[in-house]
Subunit: 425 residues, 2 copies
């Protein structure tokens, strides 16, 4: 590897010679001296040059020099630049400002120039934080004896009933991109693993183009057996949220601060109310001043506002959804189901519930939803041969990232988002 | 959650009453007593009943009883069964033997009945081990300051030149399933993250149906900047392998033992020879007794045999591939390239190399490979605006799992494998 000291390591090298490398972030001339801010993966450091420098912004350079203290420099130290070389020059016509606040830049410009706009440190921080969300999710799941699974994203038919699927030409036939690993995570619960999780892509061929939808997203999926009811699932999700929020609060404080964001503490997560779908509609109707029959985005916003006021947490578990609003595999309870959504800061970030685990019940259910055993490729066998009571849920990675940081559009939280019109880069 | 003690916890409860639950794995009647082996996620425990029991195999039951020591029982303890109930009965016509050694069962039968065959403990252990491979990979990458990324699997064109792609109908147009996250991981290296990894699906629309190919697999992708040359990459891969092997040796010893498998220790990994493609062909020609012009599967077997004899490790890094054998983005060195493969136990588990990072070189290269800047959706901008020297590689998750355990077919190491004919379950 190239000999190299990172920006964050400078304090350890005061008075000593180091070699640093990174991207030219900003240049400022002050009389006979030039200051170059150099960006590397750990942060930004200041280089001090005698006279003018000729670098173009974003060029990758390597510089040897001596570390000195300077309270005005980022991190309190700077490097008196000696031997310098350009490892990779940058063309001068940058299509996106890397070293400026991009808060007022439209999302179309950010995404059209994604290959370059991603260099903007504040934009890049979204994905550093997202990486941590994945990490704390996985670490918590593993600590609770969950096994990570990787299941096929090419399936013969849809889990939600066949709508909203992308078709893939597969040799002499067709398959579809999976909307969720639903059948597979149930199979793996019944396999004896009992507790599984998956971090994987999910696809929805829906034509909406809204700030809350992606056609391809990352799903943090959880499924576990030997539950009593759906409240066990909400308990587990609460523990997951605490673990993610705790990890981020402790290790990504600088990013939260940059975004002016906070995450709920353990007590707040414990306070998340659990109300029925009917109760939620009533509360929304009251606060919105007109009777609602569906919970739309405005309703999700109102119900979180209510939760913040009444329970000091901007999140609500909505339970007891009507059967006709849930997929066929949801455990029924008369005309209702043992299912839930989690709404966080005005956005649904989770759908989950107990699943049908009884063979006879599954056999009765399929025709009611227009489905056949044969069409589900072995799915029915999971139940025929002994499947314990179980359930699960999924957290949308981009949505939770968006809501942690307060981003206005979920596409900002997807590295290379796909929507109806966007397929590059 | 249901009140419950796991099989592995029995020793802590000697003389006390517990409630256990799981799958009926085996039933043995011995005069007036019946022994039921009960399987849960932690292992197998023995239940002792007075008289006959009527359970069908694989039924899920819940049993309360008292724990007693019995040196002949699995784990040294058993439960005198009291109150018992069936949580989910299993039909008696099991399509696959769960409680027998499946070593002599054909892979077609295993995969055709995947929803049920996966319950066989030895088969399921493949995926417990695979989960650990992912875990130790991620933990090592994170310890080395790599950021986990999640990139789109729907792309406008192929990274390897447009062949072997699955086409997806995407609203009014077409996209393809990504063969690798190549362009995206390069973009994220150049973004300033410098060091990235991804665990994600990769697709190859190749018609081969061999024991070493999958049309959908999980790729453990690594890419990093500020390397000197491709040897830095092989160094990193060696450290990754040590971390994975160490984690497995320490925490999955029981699975290794069940498969009669071992993994190379640190010293062995350090010993992995690095030989050129030309040298490899010479060694293979000598050992095979005939001159070879390509390294085929038999050649990969022979070269690992050589490495075992000469370097006490069944693995070889093959370097300096000819340019015509590598994708366009590989860093050239005359007619050769700064690239490598890792062959482990007779199977290529990694392809990697330094990448072209210089804008002018990239512009000259594209037309030689019949490609255009416009066709690559912003890819060229990565290099136009300052991209450090970098490279990377990918480890096939199913292949390394296969070779760790000594499985004869890579499909055994994929939960729901996809090949030309197999699209269910």
């Amino acid at each position: 590897m190239m000999k190299r000291t990172l920006a964050r390591e400078l304090p350890e090298f005061e008075g000593r010679e180091v070699t640093v490398s990174g991207w030219v972030h900003r240049i400022r001339e002050l009389g006979a001296i030039s200051f170059v801010l150099l960006r590397d993966r750990s942060g930004i450091l200041q280089l001090v040059y005698e006279g003018k420098v000729e670098y173009s912004l974003e060029s990758v350079i390597q510089v040897t020099g001596t570390v000195g203290a300077n309270p005005k420099a980022p991190g309190g130290f700077e490097v008196q630049a000696g031997e310098s070389s350009v490892l990779a020059p940058a063309a001068p016509d940058l299509p996106f400002q890397i070293n400026q606040d991009a808060d007022n830049t439209g999302i179309e410009s950010v995404l059209d120039n994604r290959m370059i706009s991603i260099r903007n440190p504040k934009i890049l921080d979204i994905f550093r934080l997202q990486s941590s969300v994945i990490r704390y999710f996985q670490e918590y799941m593993r600590s609770q004896d969950f096994t990570e699974i990787k299941t096929s994203k090419l399936i013969g038919s849809g889990t939600e009933g066949g709508t909203g699927l992308f078709e893939v030409a597969y040799f002499d036939t067709s398959v579809y991109l999976a909307q969720s690993p639903q059948f597979y995570k149930q199979a793996m619960v019944a396999s004896g693993l009992e507790r599984v999780f998956e971090v994987g892509a999910a696809y929805r061929a829906e034509k909406h183009d809204t700030p809350r939808h992606l056609n391809e997203y990352v799903s943090l999926d959880v499924e576990l057996a030997f539950i009593e009811d759906e409240h066990d699932l909400m308990d587990i999700e609460s523990e997951i949220l605490k673990a993610i929020f705790r990890g981020i609060r402790e290790n990504e404080a600088a990013i939260l601060e940059k975004y002016g964001a906070t995450v709920p503490d353990d007590e707040a997560v414990n306070n998340i109310p659990r109300i029925t779908h009917d109760e939620a509609k009533k509360i929304i109707s009251m606060r919105g001043g007109k009777k609602v029959f569906e919970i739309n985005p405005e309703g999700e916003r109102l119900i979180c506002e209510w939760a913040q006021e009444e329970h000091s947490v901007p999140a609500v578990f909505i339970t007891v959804f009507p059967r006709k609003k849930r997929p066929f595999y949801t455990y029924p309870d008369g005309l209702k189901t043992r299912s839930f959504d989690l709404i966080f800061r005005g956005l649904e970030i989770t759908t989950g519930g107990r699943r049908i685990n009884e063979y006879e019940m599954m056999k009765e259910t399929l025709p009611k939803f227009g489905m056949t055993e044969e069409g589900l490729g072995g799915y029915i066998d999971i139940f025929k041969y002994g499947c314990p009571p179980h359930g699960g849920f999924a957290i949308g990675l981009e949505r939770i990232t968006q809501k942690i940081l307060g981003l206005s559009n979920v596409k900002e939280a997807s590295l290379f988002p796909r929507d109806r019109k966007r397929i590059v880069p």
